[in-house]
């Protein structure tokens, strides 16, 4: 993989995000909380982040994730789409999620 072949992934509504193979979302029984384990860090996602991450299964498109969450939160698509998209782009840029 040469440097020229590497490009920043940009999110679209058709992206089907999934956690990178070296990132694990796992329930920690000691703390009673969900943890994201990654090479150097452990993250403790808040409730909304967790709901997004659980839908990052490589099957749901970003469009469907927003739909799904809109249903769960009883909110309008437009109200939540920007936050979801920003979150996923950020997690992609930090090499935690593949778009």
């Amino acid at each position: 993989m040469g440097s020229s072949s590497r490009q920043r992934a940009i999110l679209s509504e058709q992206s089907r995000p999934h956690l990178k193979r070296y990132v694990r979302l796992q329930y920690d029984p000691v703390r009673g909380a969900w943890a994201v384990l990654s090479p150097e860090r452990v993250f403790w996602p808040d409730e909304v982040s967790l709901d997004i991450l659980k839908l990052c299964d490589g099957r749901h498109t970003v469009f469907q994730i927003v739909d799904e969450l809109a249903g769960q939160y009883d909110a309008a698509r437009e109200d939540i789409a920007p936050d979801v998209e920003q979150f996923l782009q950020e997690w992609s840029d930090r090499f935690l999620v593949t778009l």
């Binding site: 040469g2 992934a9 150097e40």
Partner: protein, 365 residues
């Protein structure tokens, strides 16, 4: 601080002090342990099981060179079974054919490979090992081919600070996900070799610009983590995220320590796993409790608004430079001893022979 004591998240396991390299900046203590002092396979396995019970989620398998332990696969599979994230920290020299594949199959999650120079002569000079550079590149290729995520760790000092752009190119060409541009922490062998390793101020400033530019240019392409050089800083780092707060380490003989250099604090006594359980040490060890939270702090830390940001900085650096482990880390601009950092930089930069190294060797500090 009155917060309840939380379990540790991370643990650094120094499986051995043996290493094919002799890096002049090594963070291991000057008194390196011989192989006969290392914990047995059974003891490490028991320790890892207890760490998982205690709540440790991430274990860095380090050394010395951890692949010198033939039982490494057993450790990885034990931890994988317990859902603990495993990170192998290796020098990447002398790893037998097929070994990395076996480690991957045992459940290894991530590899961090240290490279001492972006060019072969630098790598060989810093680690005092001919041919090391090519072997490291070969290890990197194998790791990537096997589909394991790779971080390149570049420890930065006077002898390679100009190679930072080349390190970035190297990490990209090797297919690494992450690059750590980690300015050397002056503890252990690096403290002994401080005068030979300290970079100049202009080189440090240039480095910061190069790294910032690369971080934004390579956003989403290569993650670049920057560990700033303490001696040139205004505020200290939160050492280990705070003393005995999130993480700790275990030496090859099972001694548990809040950080690498903690053994340099003569007033503290550290317990060994085996004599006491890990949980008992984490909760009750007087050494772990000595600088936990902020109750031990003196001024200016005691009333400082950053006291839970950096936890007063590094206790070992306070010991080394202020002569008092409870002092404010002199890296902090609010420390009355802050000007010593500039003096030490000046002293180091004025030495005539920057190649006057004392290489890391067992039994020869």
């Amino acid at each position: 601080m009155s917060d309840a004591l939380l379990p540790p998240i991370g643990m650094l396991a120094e499986l051995t002090h043996r290493c094919p390299l002799q890096c002049v900046y090594c963070s291991n203590p000057l008194e390196l342990l011989k192989a006969d002092k290392e914990l047995s396979t059974e003891a490490w396995l028991a320790l890892f099981e207890e760490a998982a019970d205690l709540g440790v989620l991430q274990i860095h398998l380090s050394g010395g060179e951890p692949t010198l332990r033939p039982d490494l696969e057993q450790f990885v599979s034990c931890l994988a079974r317990r859902g603990v994230y495993t990170n192998l920290i290796t020098a990447g020299v002398g790893i037998a054919e097929g070994r990395i594949e076996r480690l991957r199959d045992a459940g290894l999650d991530h590899v961090q490979l240290s490279i001492q120079g972006a060019h072969a002569p630098t790598t060989e000079k810093i680690g005092n090992n001919r041919g090391a550079h090519e072997k490291k590149l070969e290890t990197a290729r194998r790791v990537v081919e096997l589909g394991l995520p790779l971080t390149i760790n570049a420890p930065i000092h006077r002898h390679n600070i100009e190679e930072v752009p080349a390190f970035i190119d190297l990490a990209l060409s090797l297919g690494a996900e992450r690059l750590e541009i980690a300015n050397v922490q002056y503890a252990g062998w690096a403290l002994l070799n401080r005068n030979a390793l300290m970079p100049g101020r202009e080189a440090v400033e240039r480095q910061v610009e190069i790294v910032e530019e690369a971080q934004s240019r390579l956003r989403g392409i290569l993650a670049i983590d920057f560990v700033a050089p303490d001696y040139f800083a205004i505020y200290p780092k939160a050492c280990m995220g705070g003393w005995a707060r999130d993480a700790f380490m275990v030496a090859p003989d099972g001694t548990a320590l809040p950080c690498h250099a903690a053994g340099t604090i003569p007033t503290l006594h550290f317990e060994r796993f085996g004599d006491r359980s890990l949980t008992d040490i984490w909760v009750n060890s007087p050494a772990f409790n000595a600088f936990r939270g902020d109750g031990w702090m003196l001024e200016p830390c005691r009333s400082c608004e950053r006291r839970e940001v950096d936890w007063g900085g590094c206790r070992c650096q306070a010991m080394a430079i202020a002569g008092d482990a409870a002092a404010t880390d002199p890296a902090c601009i609010r420390s009355p001893l802050h000007s010593r950092m500039a003096t030490l930089i000046g002293e180091a930069n004025s030495v005539s022979d920057a190649d006057d190294f004392r290489y890391r060797r067992i039994g020869r500090a």
